[in-house]
């Protein structure tokens, strides 16, 4: 064991405490899988990441760094908020990408490109499959959320690794007022993302889209700010003309957070999911 450089980052926020926390071990060379898993269980955060030099293949493919992403219970091939937070920590530690403005991350999924625009980092939303939800499941989830069926304008099963049931509501107050029966949602085994898009959403100076993420089946009744869900929701809503190509999301309000997720579809049709990050804890970890 030795002291290794460590940061705890708040992601999707520029103000400490308003976003989704991430623990980052910046010098993870030589750690065993079991060491990483034990530390990730101990931090008790939704994710903990470990920075490594790229593999030879990764380096040849243009990777700037490699990261391994752990939850308290296992390793993930990719995740959104850990990608943005790890990239922020890597830049904060004084590194610079080979190609200015674009950072290439090597992770379990392969190479992921991250765009840097000022102090906002954005990842390319991964491919997503979607389809109509089973009506019986939709009815049960609607009940567990305390909603009436007519309050739901559109519903879609979204799968980009994590599987979310996306529900579009017509009223932002209804989204913020939800008090789901989390035990029931856990029994149903369905993670649910609820979204409202204001008519003014194309004005990205203030948040025009409200999101909440309920993930009791994943062990987290409500997630403060969620990269994967916002990626899938954006791909669905933009494709169906239910949201503009650029918008700003507010998430986490009911948990006392003020997460901000910046969505942008480029001219090639790729959706980018971005946000600011801030280093809250900086020091060393004994690992």
């Amino acid at each position: 064991m030795r002291q290794r450089s460590f940061q705890q980052i708040d992601v999707f926020s520029h103000r400490p405490g308003d976003g989704n926390p991430l623990a980052v071990v910046l010098e993870a060379e030589g750690l065993q899988d079991a060491d990483m898993q034990r530390f990730a269980a101990w931090t008790n955060l939704s994710e903990t990441t470990f920075l490594l030099p790229p593999t030879e293949a990764g380096l040849a493919g243009g990777a700037d760094y490699r990261v391994r992403i752990f939850t308290p219970g296992g390793e993930l091939p990719f995740a959104g908020h850990p990608t943005l937070g790890t990239c922020h920590a890597w830049l904060q530690a004084g590194h610079a990408p080979r190609e200015p403005g674009t950072i290439v991350q090597e992770c379990g999924l392969g190479l992921v490109r991250i765009r840097q625009q000022g102090d906002t980092l954005a990842f390319a939303a991964p491919p997503m499959q979607r389809g109509a939800p089973n009506p019986a499941l939709l009815a049960l989830v609607t009940g567990a959320l305390g909603l009436r069926p007519q309050q739901i304008l559109a519903a879609q099963l979204l799968d980009n690794g994590p599987r979310w049931l996306g529900l579009l509501l017509g009223d932002a107050d209804a989204v913020l007022g939800l008090q789901p029966d989390h035990a029931r949602l856990k029994d149903l085994g369905q993670d649910v993302g609820v979204v409202h898009v204001a008519p003014t959403a194309s004005d990205t100076r203030t948040p025009g889209v409200t999101v909440r993420a309920f993930a009791a089946p994943m062990g987290n009744p409500e997630d403060p700010v969620t990269g994967s869900l916002n990626a899938s929701l954006a791909q669905w809503l933009i494709a169906e003309g239910l949201a503009p190509r650029h918008y700003l999301v507010a998430q986490g309000e009911c948990l006392g957070r003020a997460g901000r997720v910046r969505i942008c579809q480029d001219d090639g049709g790729q959706v980018w999911v971005g946000g600011q990050s801030v280093t809250c804890i900086q020091g060393t970890a004994l690992l």
Binding site: M1, F6, D10, P16, G17, P21, R38, F39, A41, W42, T43, N44, L45, S46, H182, A183, K186, A216, G219, N220, P221, L255, G256, V278, T279, C280, I281, Q282, G283, T284, A285, L286, L287
Partner: protein
């Protein structure tokens, strides 16, 4: 906002990551209650603490430092693992008690004395608020919730010293470790389970490692039933019950967290000054926090 010294400490273990973590902000001066609560929620740990200079009254009564203890959602007047971890962090940061070997902590319940036993720290167990046997209905419900026969619960007692623990003793540590509790049946209850690790039927017998009991702590969490890795308050109350009832010797070591992959060690000792609950702590993270 400014940079403040910070440590994340593992409590009730000498080996990093096998105990119960605690976030300690070593200079909490000037932070509002709201800022402390928001940071605590953000850490996602069972507790975060904020070390402050003693109040004038506290200092006059001998306090070495003051601490405010938060769990997600609220402030606590006292808690065991945050007390040991905060004291460890304060000493590691260069704090020196006025009386060598004895540290006086000011917190919500008043002054709490800690003693240094070599590398270990111990706090004096607070008095029980409620003791005596549980209602039979409760015992049957706990048996059902734990998935054991009613006759497997050899002894039971209220273990309420702030946290409202209900304590039950099972036949063996092996039985304690195998439990797969039903959160729906135990909903709303804080249940502490203890089983002997030494020879069954011999009071206070220890195993080859010198450990007398295996302990587990179940409580209603924000996503159904939760299990705490290592619990100061429960071990304090269990010790008062078990020693008082002649079910444990006046000095023993308990193990907790095994089922979660941890290896917490709680050192219990009763002497003329009171009942002491102690353990090692180790600083796992050190640095600065922006608060």
């Amino acid at each position: 906002m400014r940079q403040r010294p910070f440590q994340q400490v593992d409590v009730f273990t000498a080996t990093p990551y096998l105990g119960n973590p605690l976030a300690v902000v070593l200079d909490g001066d000037g932070l509002s209650t709201e800022a402390m609560q928001q940071f605590t929620n953000w850490t996602n740990l069972s507790e975060a603490t904020f070390v402050l200079p003693p109040t004038p009254e506290g200092r006059a009564a001998g306090a070495d430092y003051r601490v405010r203890i938060f769990c997600p959602g609220r402030e606590l007047p006292f808690a065991g693992h945050p007390t040991l971890g905060s004291c460890h962090a304060w000493l590691a940061a260069g704090g020196q008690p006025r009386v060598p070997g004895k540290v006086v902590q000011e917190c919500g319940v008043g002054l709490v004395t800690l003693r240094q036993d070599g590398e270990r720290l111990a706090f004096a167990a607070p008095p029980l608020i409620k003791s005596g046997p549980l209602a039979e209905d409760d015992v049957q419900r706990i048996a059902r919730g734990l998935g054991v026969a009613r006759t497997d619960i050899l002894h039971h007692a209220w273990c309420d010293n702030g946290p409202n623990w209900r304590g039950v003793m099972l036949r063996s540590a092996a039985q304690v470790l195998q439990l797969k509790p039903d959160g729906a049946v135990l909903a709303g209850l804080d249940v502490g389970v203890v089983g002997p690790r030494g020879k069954v039927g011999v009071v206070g017998a220890s195993d080859a490692e010198g450990i007398a009991f295996e302990v587990r702590a179940f409580f209603p969490g924000n996503n159904g039933l939760s299990e705490d890795p290592v619990t100061g308050s429960l071990n304090a109350a269990l010790a008062q019950w078990l020693i008082g009832a002649g079910l444990a010797p006046t000095r023993y070591v308990a193990s907790q967290g095994t089922a979660l992959g941890r290896a917490g060690r709680v050192h219990v000792e009763q002497d003329s000054a009171g009942l002491w609950i102690g353990g090692h702590s180790v600083t796992c993270m050190g640095g600065q926090v922006l608060l």
